[in-house]
């Protein structure tokens, strides 16, 4: 159904998607427990269905950037996981196109015992790349991450900042057609954050589609054309950012008026930049 409805320039179509998690109170995760539960009420698990997403529909066109906003626990990460194919919707349909790079977390699959370079290969292959393709990108990834000769040492010796830098560098250098970014840009020092922002802007100019979760209205406005606000798993608000701000921001020149705007918006959104 979603398939037919999708237009050729749609990259993500979320069609009436709901997701409920089964919460097991008094969870029994053993054969023994299940067996006793047949006879004793006290051992039985009580199951509750928790609706993390309710009837969410949205579509994102190629090259577009959509921001997902909302308080903690409103279902943003769940939605990203569904779009990434990690979770299955309980009902509704999902349709995507192109190579999706989920950045649900930086440095997914990094093994602390492996060196930075070995982890680049492992991480790249998790995204479906061949080792030969990754080999051509290694130099650029290492340079961007500013890890220098640390790249040959085990990742367990990295500081958390270095870890994040490497994770981010791998993901953005794999030329994803769709980037799903979940509150990942609030890491690293200011200089590196700026570099990350520039890199994302560059990828966007090259046509990358972005689905972006952030609490910072400032950052969101910089990259995104549109936003959707979730509350308790429902879309409660959606809107479009004004075009001129968008252009300003992408150039990297932050005019003071937009800055103020953004701050005002951010503070009306929620106090402080809470991180999930």
């Amino acid at each position: 159904m979603a398939n037919d409805a999708a237009q050729s320039d749609d990259v993500i179509v979320v069609d009436h998607v709901s997701k409920s998690f089964t919460l097991h109170h008094n969870r029994v995760s053993s054969l023994k427990g299940r067996f006793i539960g047949l006879f004793k009420q006290r051992w039985r698990q009580h199951v509750e269905h928790f609706h993390a997403l309710t009837d969410v529909s949205l579509r994102v066109r190629r090259g577009e950037a959509l921001a997902l906003m909302g308080a903690n626990g409103s279902g943003k990460s769940t939605l990203l996981q569904i779009v990434a194919g990690i979770l299955r919707p309980t009902s509704g349909r999902l349709w995507t196109q192109g190579r999706i790079a989920p950045l649900i977390e930086l440095g997914v699959g990094f093994n602390p015992e492996l060196t930075g370079e070995e982890n680049i290969y492992l991480n790249g292959s998790l995204y479906g790349y061949r080792n030969a393709e990754i080999r051509r990108l290694v130099a650029a990834i290492v340079e961007f991450s500013e890890l220098g000769h640390f790249i040959d040492t085990p990742v367990k010796n990295y500081s958390s900042g270095m870890y994040m830098r490497l994770g981010f560098s791998v993901a953005v250098h794999l030329n994803p057609e769709v980037l799903l970014a979940d509150e990942i840009l609030a890491v690293g020092d200011v200089a590196f954050q700026q570099k990350c922002h520039d890199k994302i802007a560059e990828l966007q100019r090259n046509g990358m589609t972005l689905l972006f979760v952030s609490h910072s209205m400032d950052t969101v406005k910089r990259f995104c054309h549109r936003y959707v606000r979730l509350d308790h798993g429902k879309i409660v608000e959606s809107g479009v950012f004004e075009r001129d701000q968008q252009a300003d921001q992408i150039d990297g020149s932050v005019s003071s008026s937009t800055q103020q705007n953004a701050n005002a918006a951010a503070s009306s959104d929620r106090p402080g930049n809470a991180v999930t």
């Binding site: 995760s29 054969l31 990690i86 999706i100 492992l122 998790l126 061949r130």
Partner: protein, 286 residues
């Protein structure tokens, strides 16, 4: 009430059957295989990672995979030389043949439960064909085990084994054996997400299975009526097959081959079905 329950069961069965057919269809299509094939470097990287991290490099990994069969063989050789002297000709060859193959089985199955849970960090954060995780896990053990097999083949003539043409069928049976083990890994790793005490059950089961399989004794020593039951066990069938190839230098009989082939098909089919059906929902419980 019971009729409603029966109807439910029946509907469930019909549903499952439909799914099973669909699944078989999907797994058979070139598309699904192509998708997995595209990720072949992931399997390679996962295997290399495991060998490096778990065994601190290939050399040590090989050494450890040798230690287990050597120690077991040595112990039983002691017992059957000094305490219960065996009258069987070339008994060490018989013993080693069974133990080498048992080692592969017990090592993979012993770790099989944790395959998904240990990789939950990956599974919850990124999408890739989940089937490749058990593939990589079996391959890691297989690669290390091949060293043990190599050593076995070097000692094979010394223990009185004859290199005959029969050995040429061995790779086929080994392939079936590995497929069987992989299917079992799919089943156990999926169930473990729900039943976290499965691991203890498997430890016990492996102990029982070792003795219930004609590894350190000939199947002919067992009373006839027990033998008939014993031979139903896929592991007994496999052990007998390998003993026929290496020890008796005979082609495995058609009956036992068919029986084992059937076991492998059933276990792999069940494993794929269970895995594909349960794992997408299991992700949120990892």
């Amino acid at each position: 009430m019971p009729t409603a329950w029966c109807a439910d069961c029946f509907n469930l069965c019909v549903d499952e059957l439909g799914l099973l057919i669909k699944m078989a269809y999907i797994t058979n299509t070139a598309g699904a295989f192509g998708r997995l094939w595209r990720y072949r470097d992931l399997v390679r990287n996962l295997v290399l990672k495991d060998i490096k991290v778990r065994y601190m490099g290939a050399a040590l990994g090989f050494a450890w995979s040798l230690a287990n069969p050597i120690v077991i063989t040595f112990m039983y050789l002691m017992i059957f030389t000094y305490i219960f002297p065996s009258t069987q000709p070339h008994f060490p060859l018989f013993l080693v043949t069974g133990i080498v193959h048992w080692t592969l089985f017990s090592q993979v199955i012993g770790q099989s439960c944790e395959v998904l849970v240990a990789n939950s960090g990956l599974i919850k954060k990124i999408y890739f064909p989940r089937l490749l995780i058990p593939v990589a896990s079996v391959l890691v053990n297989l690669v290390l085990w091949l060293a043990a097999l190599g050593v076995y083949l070097v000692f094979y003539p010394l223990l009185g084994g004859k290199f005959s043409l029969v050995l040429f069928v061995y790779p086929l049976y080994l392939l079936l054996f590995v497929a069987f083990i992989w299917g079992l890994t799919l089943i156990l790793s999926t169930l473990y997400v729900e039943f976290r005490d499965l691991k203890h059950l498997i430890e016990v089961a492996l102990q029982v299975l070792f003795w219930a399989t004609p590894i350190i004794y000939e199947v002919g020593r067992v009373p006839r009526h027990i033998q008939e039951v014993m031979i139903l066990s896929p592991l007994a069938e496999f052990t007998i097959i390998f003993q026929q190839i290496f020890y008796a230098n005979k082609l495995p009989s058609l009956n036992i081959t068919m029986a084992f082939f059937a076991w492998t098909v059933v276990v792999v089919g069940l494993g794929l079905w269970l895995f594909n059906r349960r794992v997408p929902e299991s992700v949120e419980r990892l």
